[in-house]
């Protein structure tokens, strides 16, 4: 099947997506785009490559959790790199259509996101576009049915947040917990050798300052981002692999950086459209996820496939490695 999935992300917390850093300050990634009159303008955009990587990671995690039947399935480094980062090819590129087909059949996750397997490059089946903010500059690009403030400039949707990194080693209250390696400890309650003041001065100048104030430019909470993912030649199980990746991501639905301090939390509305057919609701991500019939059916087909595969792996621990090398047992 050929078609596209449209996603509207609504930011529930500020979004950090760094394009440039100057000293301790970081700025949002922008791209040149065309305004309504065809002139270049610089606008924030959330990279398609970042979204693709995020869903690839989630899809790989989903697969390994399922294959581990509850436990985490640990895999060799080469396979990890292939599933999570797309791998790399070593040496001259080779081509074996039958082997490529077998790999695609056995590992739908790899088939949709693509990757370098041995000397072969398997192209993915997704084209994950950048997420564009609904704003004045891009109002002519974003479809009318996408809600958001089209009067406001993208520049007005950004703000700066500053944080302090405290050097706890300089905190007198915490200092008792710090072992001073420069002072030779001698047994006894109060006996220590005092360090040479000159040496101590030199050491202090060598130490990098840990305490700093840093500032991040972020995209404001409440803003909406519109995004398109095109797919080509997907089978039902591969669509299920994509749905599974989204459901795994929905466990912690964040985009961008600084998630550890609560940034980039989103809700997402996804719609599905086969070329030449009507668009239909697909997945809603907000405090968990909600799947429509099409998404649920595709995911259950994928789950059934993984369960069968998990059974095979229990008997054959080398199963995944064999799948990659093309020696696949049914």
């Amino acid at each position: 099947m050929n078609g596209k999935i449209e996603t509207v992300f609504t930011l529930l917390s500020p979004l950090s997506h760094i394009g440039e850093s100057i000293g301790p300050n970081s700025y949002l990634a922008t791209q040149d785009m065309l305004d309504a009159n065809g002139n270049p303008i610089e606008v924030f955009a959330y990279s398609g490559n970042a979204l693709r990587g995020m869903w690839r990671d989630a899809g790989a995690e989903y697969m390994l959790k399922k294959l581990g039947s509850g436990a985490t399935l640990q895999i060799p480094l080469e396979l990890f790199y292939l599933f999570f980062s797309g791998g790399a090819i070593g040496g001259d590129q080779a081509m074996d259509i039958d082997k490529a087909r077998r790999i695609r059949e056995q590992i739908p996750h790899l088939s949709i996101f693509g990757g370098g397997v041995g000397n072969m490059l398997l192209p993915g089946k997704l084209s994950v576009g950048e997420a564009l903010p609904v704003c004045r500059e891009l109002a002519h690009i974003i479809p009318d049915y996408v809600s958001g403030n089209r009067e406001l400039s993208a520049r007005q949707m950004t703000t700066e947040v500053s944080y302090s990194r405290k050097d706890d080693a300089k905190d007198d209250l915490l200092r008792p917990y710090l072992q001073d390696a420069g002072v030779p400890q001698i047994e006894g309650p109060q006996m220590t050798l005092l360090p040479d003041p000159e040496q101590e001065k030199k050491k202090e100048t060598k130490e990098k300052p840990q305490q700093m104030r840093y500032t991040m430019e972020v995209f404001c909470r409440g803003a909406a981002l519109w995004q398109e993912t095109f797919f080509r030649d997907l089978c039902e199980i591969e669509l299920g692999a994509f749905v599974a990746a989204v459901t795994k991501w929905a466990e912690n639905p964040c985009i961008g950086g600084q998630n550890r301090i609560g940034m980039g939390r989103v809700k997402a509305e996804m719609s599905f459209q086969l070329f030449g057919e009507e668009k239909e609701p697909f997945i809603t991500v907000s405090d968990g996820y909600l799947l429509t019939d099409r998404a649920r059916e595709a995911k259950s087909r994928y789950d059934e496939f993984l369960e069968r595969y998990a059974g095979y792996l229990e008997e054959n621990r080398e199963g995944l490695t064999k799948a990659i090398s093309g020696k696949v047992a049914k």
Binding site: N2, K4, Q31, D32, M33, L34, G38, N39, P40, A45, S47, G48, N49, R52, D57, A60, E61, L64, T72, L73, Q74, I75, P76, L77, F80, Y81, F84, S85, G86, A88, G90, D92, Q93, M95, D96, I97, A100, R101, R104, G114, M120, L121, L122, P123, G124, L126, S127, V128, G129, E130, L132, I141, E228, F230, R232, D233
Partner: protein, 221 residues
């Protein structure tokens, strides 16, 4: 077979390409292969031996003599507004690695500064173009069927670059399909004259018209 003009109106205008040739017959051939020999797209190729090369049957007029034949279809015409180098990144995820990698008896150390697992920050040359036009001679309806299957143009389509918003195809009073690489023994370079253009063994000595309408000849402001 009639002269026609094919126009791609771009979504954001951003196209990843270094030369701006963007031959439409190459994109039409890709769609033709998707429809007729999808197995060839299961895996990427860096070369194709002559006996394995599949020649497409495009609804375009064939021109040229013997092995120097080419399709009557121009390279991209248009006015790029600006050039921008963007970067894409590939990185090894240590956090996930600590959870999912089984190092076995090996030392759990991964070198991301060099070698197989190297992290990348790759520059990508992009151009901003509102619309691109091609001129061809062929069967307009059949060309339209193929063209409407093309959703993206240029490199890094997997990252959404080169998104086409819509296509128009119209009859055109003038045949401008010669705005392309034309085989010429006195030409100033060796280059592809038909798809796949990257396939070096079928490059020919050719000339590219010095015509300002070609996007590759356009001067950026």
């Amino acid at each position: 077979m009639k002269p026609m003009k094919i126009t791609a109106y771009m979504r954001t205008g951003k196209i990843a390409t270094t030369d701006l040739y963007l031959p439409l017959d190459a994109m039409l051939e890709y769609v033709w292969i998707q429809q007729n020999h999808p197995e060839l797209l299961e895996v990427s190729r860096s070369s194709i031996p002559p006996d394995e090369l599949v020649v497409s049957e495009l609804p375009l007029e064939k021109r040229g003599e013997g092995d120097e034949w080419y399709w009557a279809c121009s390279f991209a015409c248009g006015e790029p507004k600006c050039e921008e180098i963007i970067h894409w990144h590939k990185r090894f995820d240590f956090d996930l690695g600590t959870e999912y990698i089984d190092f076995g008896n090996r030392r759990g150390k991964v070198d991301v500064k060099s070698g197989y697992y190297k992290n990348y920050r790759m520059p990508l040359v992009t151009y901003l173009v509102p619309k691109l036009e091609w001129y061809a001679v062929g069967d307009l309806k059949e060309v339209a069927l193929l063209v409407n299957e093309i959703t993206h143009i240029g490199k890094k389509r997997s990252q959404g670059l080169g998104r086409v918003a819509r296509w128009t195809i119209e009859e055109w009073p003038e045949d401008l399909s010669h705005l392309r690489a034309i085989p010429d023994p006195n030409g100033d370079m060796e280059m592809g004259i038909r798809p796949p253009y990257w396939l070096a063994w079928q490059w020919k000595r050719a000339r590219l018209p010095d015509d300002g309408r070609l996007a590759c000849n356009a001067r950026l402001a």
